[in-house]
């Protein structure tokens, strides 16, 4: 018998943990991308802030959208948005649901939080950043693995999966939303020839794939040389890729079968899933991708509200 309050905390713990991992992946990939650009070219780091949807808070605090400020903002600052704070929230939710989670899961989350808190500041400079972000990603994976390997497939675990899948679907739609023009503005100015941009476009898409651990999978599945259209299609629509939007929405429909009163949520998830799967990516890339992704994100937000409505609100008798 799962308490509504506990269900909510388990769900958020999974979301925060997943979000922290995603931020770590994004920072990692952007830091690598920066190194591939021609000397003197600066990456549009503000894109990262846009992906996470916190432009307003950033502008309030910082004048310059440079690497240092963006990394500080997203990694280390105690602003309720940063990776460290995501882990603090995940830990707090885990701490208040210790009675139902495996003991080792709390210990790992707890350890990961302390690691991030004590090292995030050092990650602002480039020298140690990779090592720290690698650790965060792999320790997050370890937590997911531990839960998968030790938790009963009960309702609590269902809420872990719901939270994680929804967060992944959401983040993937944000990642494919990157705009190469904004990301590499200086290339535009330096050389107007589209051909000159091409190698960097490829590097960009390659890194987008890497951020989702999808580069190798792409190679095996798509067999085309890397291009925007295939990458977007792959990340949004491929059913096998564990971080694709479609895969995660499908996972949710399966998880929902184990939960009581899930009709409304299920309807909303299927609506979102259809929107993602039926999209004509080729056409969207020429026009309307941004708007399409916006509406997908709105539907994803609706999924969350339906989940909260159905299971978290008190008095749901």
């Amino acid at each position: 018998m799962l308490l509504s309050r506990v269900a909510e905390r388990v769900y958020w713990q999974a979301r925060y943990l997943e979000r922290a991992e995603n931020v770590a992946r994004l920072l990692h990939v952007f830091s690598a991308l920066q190194l591939d650009l021609p000397k003197g070219t600066k990456l549009g780091w503000q894109t990262l802030v846009q992906i996470t949807g916190h432009e307003e808070q950033f502008v309030e605090k910082y004048k310059q959208e440079n690497e240092r400020n963006v990394v500080r903002f997203l990694l280390a600052e105690r602003n309720g948005i940063s990776l460290v704070d995501m882990l603090a929230f995940a830990r707090e939710n885990a701490r208040t649901t210790r009675e139902i989670m495996p003991t080792e899961a709390f210990e790992l989350i707890n350890g990961l939080y302390y690691f991030a808190r004590d090292n995030a500041e050092a990650g602002i400079s480039r020298a140690e950043r990779n090592e720290i972000l690698d650790q965060i990603v792999s320790r997050s994976q370890q937590i997911g693995g531990l839960m998968a390997g030790t938790m009963s497939r009960d309702e609590a675990y269902s809420f872990v999966r719901l939270g994680r899948s929804l967060e992944r679907a959401d983040m993937t739609t944000r990642i494919v939303d990157v705009d190469s023009q904004k990301l590499m503005p200086e290339l535009e100015v330096e050389d107007a020839e589209p051909e000159a941009r091409e190698p960097y476009e490829n590097i960009l898409w390659m890194n987008v794939l890497r951020s989702s651990s999808a580069y190798q999978m792409y190679r095996q599945h798509v067999r085309e040389r890397i291009n925007g259209e295939d990458v977007v299609r792959f990340l949004l629509q491929n059913e096998q890729l564990p971080r694709s939007a479609a895969h995660n929405l499908t996972t949710m429909t399966k998880v929902l079968r184990n939960l009581p009163n899930s009709n409304k949520v299920n309807w909303q998830v299927n609506k979102t899933r259809k929107l993602v799967r039926d999209a004509d990516v080729n056409r969207l890339l020429r026009r309307g991708l941004v708007r399409h992704l916006d509406s997908v994100q709105k539907e994803i937000a609706q999924v969350h509200f339906k989940i909260a409505d159905t299971w978290f609100l008190p008095g749901n008798s």
Binding site: M1, L2, L3, S4, R5, V6, A7, E92, R95, T96, R98, E99, I100, T103, F106, E107, N110, G111, Y114, E155, L259, P260, N261, W311, P314, G315, N316, S317
Partner: protein
């Protein structure tokens, strides 16, 4: 530099490990020589490893401060404390005897009041007690047991005997740290287990607790729904609430998770409302039900008290049980044991003076600078006066308080608490300790082997409360191998 027991000196105090400089007591000899076999670096490494384990295991407690509530790592000294099996067997009997008598007393107070009619305990002491709940009159809980979980504070005096310092019958805490301290010690000194000592395990406490709680269920079902009711994350014992719920496989609920309908208690789940049979409540009486007690309480559940009185849900401990853990009633416990059980008390009280008695009060006021003065129903060491360490101003203040409200105060001579060694940064040093074993009573009774040892980490100090800088130790009840 290795541990040198020859320079270890507890002075006039009874030390539980070292009887005189250089000589360990018999049961402690293997421990003492083992500690001596380690280099300073090895010992410090073990200390650091234990601290790290406590941090990653998330063993914490919450401290209230002006800057907000801080979640702190649990302080534990790695050197264990030893109690022999035979000594413990006797102590354990004494604890069970005491709780049994106290439960007879509480039941009598809320029903026939024979002990008052026989004038063993003065009636006005009960009626004036801040812990007497008139709403409970006439209630007959299952097995006539009111205090199901008791944390009894014991100290060892100069004679090496255990004395009862107080009975905690409301919401005693600390048992989770007893279990976790053992887990940390196993990581720290695995060599000592089994090879050198046969130590009674403590890890089954949650199972014993669940059995006891289940035995209280009003519904006769195979698996009654048992929940732990917590005030929430900001409570200093939240770690323990969630720990016990987890180890018992019970739900951890807050007031808002419960609702009363038709005098039955339900919890809100993702599948709708689900009936609750037994509530292990970690909320004080006054906050459990705003309809009956404190009207402003947001921690409790409206209607809970009536559901209990109708017999539709069990509450552990029962409301009103605190009437017997009042520090004034404490002084009557030896008589209470004789009255109900017709037995001599196995465990002794610390000698005490009642301020409500004119002659005893006179003695207290004249010797205030030598005594410890305690208010009737404060806990956690708050509102206490330690005469020998108090300033003139504090003494004057307590003189005034005692005269104004004699019923609310009792005094005891400053008992010399026994010492055990702690591992400091440089050397091992003696520090004062007490012991809180936990006693369960439902359809049968149970005592933890040992309990939670609390230790005053400051040299010479008697203050062992974790909220005031105290630490803890793993406590071993060892049987002859």
């Amino acid at each position: 530099m290795r541990v040198n027991w020859k320079t270890y000196n507890s002075g006039k105090f009874f030390d539980e490990i070292i009887s005189s400089p250089g000589y360990a007591r018999k049961p402690a000899r293997r421990l003492a020589s083992y500690l001596r076999s380690l280099t300073h670096e090895e010992l410090q490494q073990k200390k650091t490893a234990a601290e790290l384990a406590i941090k990653t295991m998330g063993i914490s407690f919450t401290v209230y401060s002006d800057a907000g509530n801080i979640d702190r790592e649990w302080p534990m000294d790695i050197i264990p404390r030893l109690i022999t099996g035979s000594e413990w067997n006797q102590t354990s009997k004494g604890l069970q005897q005491r709780l049994e008598a106290l439960n007879c007393f509480i039941h009598d107070i809320y029903n026939d009041q024979k002990i008052l009619k026989d004038k063993i305990v003065p009636e006005d002491l009960i009626m004036d007690s801040g812990n007497f709940r008139k709403q409970c009159l006439g209630m007959k809980p299952k097995y006539n047991v009111w205090a199901h979980i008791c944390g009894t504070d014991l100290i060892k005096g100069d004679d090496g005997q255990f004395y009862v310092l107080e009975d905690n019958l409301r919401v005693p805490s600390g048992v989770s740290y007893m279990v976790e301290n053992r887990r940390v010690t196993k990581r720290t000194f695995p060599e000592l287990f089994a090879d050198d000592y046969s130590i009674r395990p403590v890890a089954d406490y949650p199972a014993e607790l669940l059995d006891m709680l289940s035995s209280l269920s009003p519904r006769q079902v195979k698996h009654p729904e048992v929940v732990v009711l917590t005030p929430g994350i900001f409570n200093s014992a939240y770690f323990e609430h969630s720990y016990l719920a987890q180890r018992m496989g019970a739900e951890l609920v807050e007031g808002g998770d419960l609702v009363v309908e038709d005098d039955k208690v339900f919890m809100r789940t993702i599948d709708g409302l689900s009936q609750v049979d037994v509530i292990y409540r970690r909320i004080d009486d006054m906050f459990i039900d705003p309809a009956v007690f404190n009207k402003d309480s947001v921690l409790g559940v409206r209607g809970l008290f009536n559901a209990w009185k109708k017999g539709n849900v069990a509450l552990a401990n029962a409301p009103g049980a605190g009437v017997a853990d009042d520090k004034i009633i404490y002084t009557y416990v030896p008589e209470i044991i004789k009255y109900y059980l017709d037995e001599d008390p196995i465990l002794s009280n610390v000698p005490s003076y009642l301020c409500v008695d004119r002659k005893q009060r006179q003695h207290v006021l004249e010797n205030l600078d030598k005594l410890v003065v305690k208010p009737a129903n404060e806990s956690g060491g708050y509102g206490m006066l330690i005469g020998p360490q108090a300033s003139k101003k504090e003494l004057a203040e307590f003189r005034r308080r005692i005269k104004a409200d004699p019923r609310n105060y009792m005094a005891q001579p400053l008992i010399s608490l026994s010492t055990v060694p702690i591992l400091g940064d440089r050397v091992v040093e003696p520090r004062h300790v007490d012991l809180r074993p936990f006693v369960l009573q439902g359809d049968k009774s149970y005592v933890t082997p040992g309990g939670l040892t609390r230790v005053a980490m400051v040299k010479g100090s008697y203050v062992v409360n974790s909220s005031q800088g105290g630490g803890s130790k793993d406590t071993w009840v060892v049987d002859d191998a």
